[in-house]
Every structure is written in structure tokens, then in C-alpha cells.
Amino acid sequence: MYEAELVPNISFRLIIIDKSSFICIRLTQQYESICVYVLINSIIFFNHLFVVKHNTIMRIYISLFFLLISNLISAQNYTISGYVRDAENGEELIGATVYVKQIKNGTISNSYGYYSLTLKKGDYDIVFSFLGYENIVKHLSLNKSVKQNISLKLTSKLANEVTIQADKIDRNLSSIELGTVKMPVKSIKALPAIFGEVDILKSIQLLPGVQSAGEGSAGFYVRGGGPDQNLILLDGANVYNSSHLFGFFSVFNADAIKDVKLVKGGMPANYGGRLSSVLDISMKEGNMKKFKAQGGIGLISSRLTLEGPIKVDTSSFIISGRRTYIDFISQPFLSDTSMFAGSGYYFYDLNAKVNYRLSDKDRLFLSSYFGRDVFSFNNNEDDMHMNIPWGNATTSLRWNHLFSDKLFVNSTLLYSDYKFDIDIIQSGFELKLFSGITDYSYTVDFNYFPNINHKISFGGQFIRHSFVPSSVSLSTEEEDTNIGEMLKQYANDVAIYINDEFDVTEKLKLNIGLRPTYFQQVGPFNRYIKDDEGSITDTIVYAKGENVVRFVHLEPRISARYRLNSKSSLKAGFTQNYQYIHMASISSVSMPTDLWVPSSDVVKPQFGTQYSFGYFRNFKDNTYEASAELYYKTLENQIEYMPGSTPGDNVGDNADNNFTFGSGQSYGLELFFKKNFGTTTGWIGYTLSKTTRIFEDINNGKEFPVKYDRRHDVSLIINHSFNDKWTASIVFVYATGNTYTPILGRYFMENGTIVTEYGDYNSYRMKAYHRMDFSLTYTLKKTKMLESSFNFSVYNLYNRHNPYFIYFDFEGDITEGVFSTFAKQVTIFPILPSIAWNFKF
């Protein structure tokens, strides 16, 4: 590595990566140079660790990457920068478009509503726009750098429709984002809600490429990836279990949420740690202007959100709570003398956030989420008492700072926790099971806007994980029998990244990024070594802080957009990701009991590669947008429990000793057609895909389809507003049925015990899943005091009996010679009408 100071004051740094390539970066301002310098050097360091064992293609890629980054030569330029906000409540708008008419180019506001554009001296018309808001056009004679904060007003329905249409921006064509969908909470709220609860997760499952495993299953599946391969962030903090009641409701209370972004392909380098997708959810900041309350009363749950300024335009708060009362409703059916008295289920969520604008350049945020599901079950006849609480807690403390109008930094301290407990007392025996994961982390993200052609982001992340994959203890009235020590696993997870969104020509835009990652499992830890038959032959003891295993990997990300004409563009992407945490699911459905385990000396990091390609076209002056995307994805080092493993096998053993390892692939075509404007809006999405896995110990090593392998998947959403009072929406979904393993035969052993003989793993399919939902909202006359609406919705309008699971039942006794077997299908939700009253004041 060679460095030289070529010109005093303007320093060039020449860094030789290897003999064939070099980079040079010109930096003019001292503090910027420090940040960039530190970052580049750490990448070089990682690179150094890495390049030794990596191939030539990667080296060329890295050289190319640095050459692009180096192309930051600026002429006589000035910067216009500021925040884009909602005029009414002062909330920053994420992803608002800032478009410069003269150069037909622009930018979008970042996750904190900040934008920065550096342009040559001249006259410009700058259009600020955000879906659902009225555009603002600013005319500027740029001869010095300016701060320009913009407040956009909500469009009133139907009004000014013509003017809005005139300035519609073709964002999906111009942006480089591939496989990325933003859903404003407003449009999520327009969809039919089950039991009056607006559900963010269910809404994103209506997008092509995103699937649910059906009702009653937690988690979602993106382009053939598992539910553990989604990075779910709430204000930057990891949420490990995103649903209540096994997927019936999501943990995100829509009243407290500002913005939802889903990245399913072409993941930029600032995100990492998961293979398949990012679901980035931002909580509301709280109204900066005046005190507001909103809420809703539904059949089984209610919500209340309070927000307002602590000091107008300087600081604000929001607090939001939600609780179900299924337990109260079911109480009358359970008398005190009943066998099941005292049984019940409920969940609650609390979101809270405060923020403070310290100055024009600094802002602090503190946000927190806490939620629990609590299930208790008593069977007084059997003297059995069971208590099962589980849930997430997250906290983020973040600081936004502007170093200059071109360099924005956000640094965040994060805490995130998920735990699951089972406590069962029966006849003097007490059994406890516990599993969980806790993270402490620090992230720093820089956004650097050197000129209109580059948008550079870089930063880093450190996470300290502690895992309790599974711990079991059993005690009796007489003695405590700890069946196994609580086996904790600790890990350090480090990543740094740099990403440049670069306009190569007017038509070609590249987004090129690099993310070196480092993961280390550290002691204290006991590794049990087992022989082929599963007997422990040796134990390796690691002391506190001692290295168990470490991994260093480089993740390249690249995507490109080529603008064909004013109506269409082509996009392509290539990403590679490593994932150092794994979810092991012992059951055939995703449950809160699923364990999180780190990569270890036994479990290699998951590795994913995705190629995607898309054609985007808009019609009728951008009123309609359409896209077709193709993807191909491979997944390495996937885990499953060995067939026949049970949670008890973790006792006195490392959980990962019971895993089997395999690989997977998925490919598909996603079609999307959407209408954004007018009294009728909505979309239709279709996905054709195939997802398979291969495991040596499952299905005799033959390839098999995953449970949620969907050949066809269709979603249709239509929203219509009739007038100021009435709006209606319809959702229709169709999906190929889940796979399952058939039971083909039976035989008798041991004096009549029935043994079942299975067919090929996941070789049969349940009936197709389809359903239509309908929702009608009546907005009451707005008074000075109160704005409120009634929402009537019907889930599963035509009462389709969709299979939740299939089971087999039999009648008679084989030894008496009369015996027959039946297959039965369980449906959880037939037609379900509900009503809710939502208010705002």
C-alpha cells in the first residue's frame, strides 16, 4: 500500500490494492476526509484479509469499484439541501422525490427526510413531491449553497386532480431500486383489516415475490428465502419475531408507523446480515405542531396513540399502545368451576418515541418497542398449569448530524431482545423451557452527496449477540434437576460498507457497493464433539472471550438502470450476502419456539447469491406503472433439524449438533401492474416461481420443494373512493397450495402398534389457497373536535375453506378387525365479518 501527498491542501491519496489497479480520491474538506479515509482504509484492511484467498474476478470488481468512487471531480458547484416534511404535523417524509427539471435528474430524501443536491451554477426549477401530497415547485438561481426545507401538504381527495397529474414523477423508471417497494402506511390502512387490525405484514404479502405460508404461520417468505432470511428493522433495531399469535397479527401497530420499505432484490450495501430481504420500518416521530390523539375500538382489540410537541417545532413525543381482549371475551364461557378456569390468551404492544432538534444540524431520537404474547392454560382436572409468555423488546437511540450540507451522518445505539418461555407445572413437576436472543449494537451511516451524479453512503455496524438456543430445567417438589446447563453462545458481528449511486450517463445509472463482514463466535462456550453414532467423545472448553471461530467475507452488490426512453427502463442486479445467524424450526410450521443460533465451528454462514433483471414501463403519463422482474437465487449452508429431532435433544448438547445442512435455489418471474392516481387505485401482481432444497439427510438426499413453494401466486387489490364519505376496497389472493409429505402406507409391529410409511418429502400439495376480502369505510362528518370513521370489513367473503393443515383420524380397533382411516382438513378462518371505529382528535 502506497500513499502520497501530491499537492498540499488538496490531498490525493493513492492506494495500491495490487499491481494492476489503483484509486485516487480528492478531498477538500478536512472532516470529510477523515471519515472517508477511515472507511476506505478499513475496507482495504478487510480486503487485505480477503484478497489473499479470493479470485481475480473479485479483484477486478474491487478495482472497478474504487475507480468509480474516485470519479468525484467537481467544478464550480453549489449545494441545495434540507428536509422534506409534512406541513401539518412536521414529520419528515422518507423517500420524497426532489427533481430538477432542467437536468432531468434528482434525488430522494433519505430515511430522515434529508436531501442534498450539488449542481452547477445556474437557474433551476426543483420539484418536491411525495405520493399523496401536493407537489411544490421552487425556482432557484443557484449562485451560492442554500438550505431549503420544504413542507408538503396532503392532497385533499379528488380536488386538484388535474394539476397533480401534470407533475407526476416517474420514480419507478428513474430510480435504480430493483425489487424495492415502499408502502405508505396510508395505503396499508386502506386495505381490508382482519378484526379491524391493520396489518403491515399481511399487506406486504400482497406484493409479488412475497409469500405467506398461509394463515396461522408466523413469518413471510421472499423469493424462496426462509423466514429467518428477512432483516426486519424497527427504527433500525432487529425484530426477531414479527408476529403475534403465530402470525395472526403483526407486531407493528400501524398507528405508530410512518413508513414501510421492503427490499427483495438488489439489496444496497448499507443493509446486510440477511440473505433474502429487508423490511425497514420507521416509527412516527410525533406531531411537532399540536397535540393529537388517535385510536380505534375493534371487536377483539383496541388501540390508542397520543402524540404532540414537547416544544413546538423542536421536540415531540409519540406513545402508542394496543391490547387484545380475547381473554376477557372468553372468560364468560369459562366459569370458575370449569376444568379450564383461568386459561386465556392476550397480547399487547407499546411503542414510544421522543425526538429533539438540538440545532439545525443535530437531532436526537429515542424510540422503544415492547410487546408480549401471554398464553396461559389450566387444566384443573389434571392439575396442570401452563404459562407461555414471549415477545420482543427494542430500543434505539440515534443521533443525526450534518457535518456539512453534503455530508449527513446518523449514528445509533441499539438494543434488541426476543425471548420465549414455557413454564408448566403438573402434579408437583415443573418444567421450564427458555430460548432467546439479545443484541447490543452500534451503527453509523454516512450519506455523502458530492455532486448530482453521485450519492455515496458508507458506514459500519457492530453487533454483540448473545444466544440461548434452548434451555430446559425440570424440578420436583423435592429436588431441582437441572437437566442441562443453560448453553449460551456469544458472537461479535462487524460490517462496514460503502455504496455509490452513480449516474454514468443520462441513461445509465449504477449502484455499486461493497460490504466486508466479520463474524466471530467467542467463549465462554463448550463444544461437545460427537462420533458418527451421536455419542459425546470429547468436550472443548473455551474461556470467556476466547475465539471459537471467525469468518471474514466480502459481499459485492451491484445494480444498474438503463433508461430506454421516457416511458421505460431496464434494470439488473447482482448481490451476494452472508448471514451469520440461523433459525432452526423443529416444527413444520413457523412458531415462536423456533430457535436462533449463530454460525459456529459446526454451522457455516449462510451464503446467498441473487441475479435479478427487470423491465419497467409506465403508461398514460405515469398513471399506470408496470414491471416484469426475473430472479434467480441460490442459497448455501441452509440448516434443518435432523429428522426426528426434538427440543429435548438440545439438553446437555449443542443445539447445532442436531442439524443437517443443505442448499437451495429459487427462480421466478414477477409481474406487477399498478394504478397510482385517481379515485380508483390498486394493483395486480402475479408470481411464477419454483423453490427447492437439497439436504443429505432429508428425502434420501433428493431435491424437494419447500413447504411454501408457490408455482402461482396472484394478488389483486382495488381501492375506490366514491366520495368524501365512502371508500371501499377489495383484495383477492390466489396461491398454489402448500406442499406436504403424504402418508402412503401403514404396517403393524409390536403387537399392533401402527407404523406409518411416508412418501417422498413434500411431494404432495394441499388445495390451492384463495380468498377475497372486502372493506367499506364510512367517514363521519368532521367536526372541530373529532374526526372518525367506521370500518366494516369481511375477511374471506365467499367463505372458502382454505387448508391450514391436514391430519388423519381413524375409527375402530385394528385388533377387533374394524378399522378405517380418514383425512381431515382444518380451516382456521372461514368468513369473518368485523367492525371497528377509528378516531382522531
Partner: protein, 315 residues
């Protein structure tokens, strides 16, 4: 261990039960291909005993069982059997066992206590610890092969009775000690027989354990309850316990890894069969060309008369 899993499932089902006010169950017909029956082997060779092999046919999962009877000719006798039972029988099989030196041809006979009531029994080969035994079956144009070993037996050191609880102190479990050999990997299988109640050996539902968590431990504690005797009243909860005053035999068997894998998967299969939440556990087999198992057993038997407050050293 199995119990943990069933707790999860129970918890889940109960939780879903709160939605049971909405959920519904439909009968459905599944479009599975026609089933081709296979030959199922259940064969043992115990230390000090001859080889015994039960043979039967597997059947399609949805084959219904009627009450019709048919005539079947076995060893020259004609008997009436329920139709489904007749279908499962494998008659006229050529079953041979070899210890590497001599070959024993097994003869078909009737065992009235054990379903499917017909056994092929050996005569010239007696099981010995360390012996290796190959099994060959020729029937219905098929040839099935298998091999097993008899591991060295491990003696039971002592036995005592533990009442179920203070209120019900006349029924309970039997506890005991044995010493696990340190220099080998062992797999155990337990059987019990209550004299007067059982005509055959029975075993608890979970009957196999590996020594992976206690290899080489002297005084390894074990607990057994009375196994499931199909002839007893299935509604009698006390049938799974031992009773004060009765004399029982406790049989501790040593088995090889193939036997452990078979019985372990057998237990899980029988426990999880048809359970919608359990991942399917295919039952292992060490029979080439068929289903089931062929296993050698090292045997230690202790007799114990169940009594309160009395530890007995095993014979």
C-alpha cells in the same frame, strides 16, 4: 423427550382453540397413488434363545378394514381369520438364519399372544454375546436380507420401588442402577413383565436409550414403568404402574446402533404419525428389500417383588 414436543404441539393447538369458535374441519379425499404392499420383518435373536421372526404385509394407509372372515390354511390346519388379517400374513416363506458356521431354517408356528399370531422360529442356533447373525427371507418372489449382532450384556445392580405419590402409594415405578461400560458405546432397551398380568414382555413407550449422556458412569439410574399390555383394559390408568405385592421381571437389553436407530425412529413415528405439526419421521430399517428390523439382544434379567421402603439388590 417426546413429551417436550407434544407440549409444544398441545400449546399450539390450545392456543388455536381460542380461534376454534371460527375454525372448521372438513373431510377430504386425497389423491394418492395405489399402494404396493411390502414385507415387514420383526425379528429378534436374544442371548440364550433361538431366532424368532414375525412377517406381515404393509397396507395402504386408507385401506379400510372390514369384519369379513376368510379361511386360511396354515401348516395343514384350516382356520377362520378376519379378512384384513389374512391379507397381512406372509405364509410359505423360506426363512433362514446363519451364524457364519451353521444355517438354521425357521419353522412357521402359532403364537396366540402376539399379533399377527404367526412366528417363524429357529431351533439349532442359540444367540450368544459377540455373535453375528445374518437373516435371509425368500417369499412371494422377493429376497430380503439383514444382519445383526448381540452386544455384551450389562447387569442390573439394584432395584427399588418408588410410589406414584403420597396419596397413591400402592402403585408406582421401579428404579434401578446399572454400570455403563466405559470403553464402548452402548444402547439399551428395557422390557418388563409382571408375573400374573403379562404373558409376554412389554415395554414403556420410550424403550431405548443411548449412553451418550452417561458413558462410563457407574451407578447409572434408570426408571421404568409397566409397559403397554394390549390385553389389559385400556381405560385403566393404573395399568402403566407396578403394584405393591406383585413380582416383576426387569429385562435390560443391550442392542447395536442399527437397533437403536430403528426403535428410536419407530417411537417417534408412532408418536408423531399424522401429527400435522411434527415433521415426518420415516422409520429406519435394516432390512434390505423390505421394512422392519432384525435385531440381536444381549440380556440381563432381574426378578423383583414390589414392596414399599425396601431396596433390593438385584440377583
Amino acid at each position: 423427550m417426546k413429551d417436550n414436543l407434544s407440549i409444544y404441539i398441545k400449546a399450539f393447538l390450545l392456543m388455536s382453540a381460542f380461534f376454534a369458535m371460527f375454525s372448521c374441519v372438513d373431510d377430504i379425499t386425497l389423491d394418492f397413488p395405489a399402494y404396493e404392499p411390502k414385507i415387514v420383518v420383526e425379528g429378534t435373536i436374544e442371548q440364550g434363545d433361538v431366532a424368532r421372526v414375525f412377517l406381515s404385509h404393509s397396507q395402504g394407509y386408507f385401506d379400510s378394514v372390514g369384519s369379513d372372515s376368510v379361511e386360511v390354511e396354515i401348516s395343514g390346519f384350516t382356520i377362520m381369520l378376519p379378512e384384513f388379517l389374512a391379507k397381512t400374513l406372509v405364509l410359505d416363506a423360506q426363512v433362514t438364519v446363519s451364524n457364519g458356521i451353521i444355517t438354521d431354517t425357521l419353522q412357521l408356528g402359532i403364537n396366540q399372544y402376539v399379533f399377527p399370531y404367526l412366528t417363524y422360529t429357529g431351533s439349532s442356533i442359540i444367540g450368544e454375546p459377540g455373535g453375528v447373525y445374518t437373516l435371509k427371507i425368500e417369499a412371494e418372489g422377493k429376497v430380503l436380507n439383514s444382519i445383526t449382532t448381540i452386544p455384551n450384556p450389562v447387569p442390573i445392580d439394584s432395584l427399588w420401588f418408588k410410589p406414584r405419590n403420597e396419596q397413591e402409594d400402592s402403585i408406582g415405578y421401579i428404579y434401578g442402577f446399572f454400570s455403563d461400560p466405559a470403553d464402548e458405546t452402548n444402547y439399551y432397551r428395557f422390557f418388563t413383565k409382571s408375573l400374573g398380568r403379562d404373558s409376554n414382555w412389554v415395554h414403556p413407550f420410550n424403550s431405548v436409550i443411548p449412553d451418550r449422556n452417561f458413558n462410563g458412569k457407574e451407578d447409572q439410574l434408570f426408571m421404568v414403568y409397566h409397559g403397554d399390555n394390549h390385553l389389559e383394559d385400556p381405560n385403566d390408568r393404573e395399568r402403566f404402574y407396578f403394584k405393591i405385592g406383585e413380582t416383576v421381571l426387569i429385562k435390560l437389553c443391550t442392542i447395536d446402533y442399527d437397533q437403536f436407530r430403528f426403535w428410536n425412529s419407530f417411537q417417534q413415528n408412532a408418536g408423531g404419525g399424522g401429527n400435522p405439526f411434527a415433521s415426518p419421521v420415516p422409520t429406519e430399517t435394516n432390512i434390505e428389500g423390505g421394512l422392519g428390523t432384525w435385531g440381536g439382544y444381549g440380556v440381563s434379567i432381574s426378578e423383583y417383588t414390589v414392596s414399599l421402603n425396601d431396596s433390593t439388590s438385584a440377583k
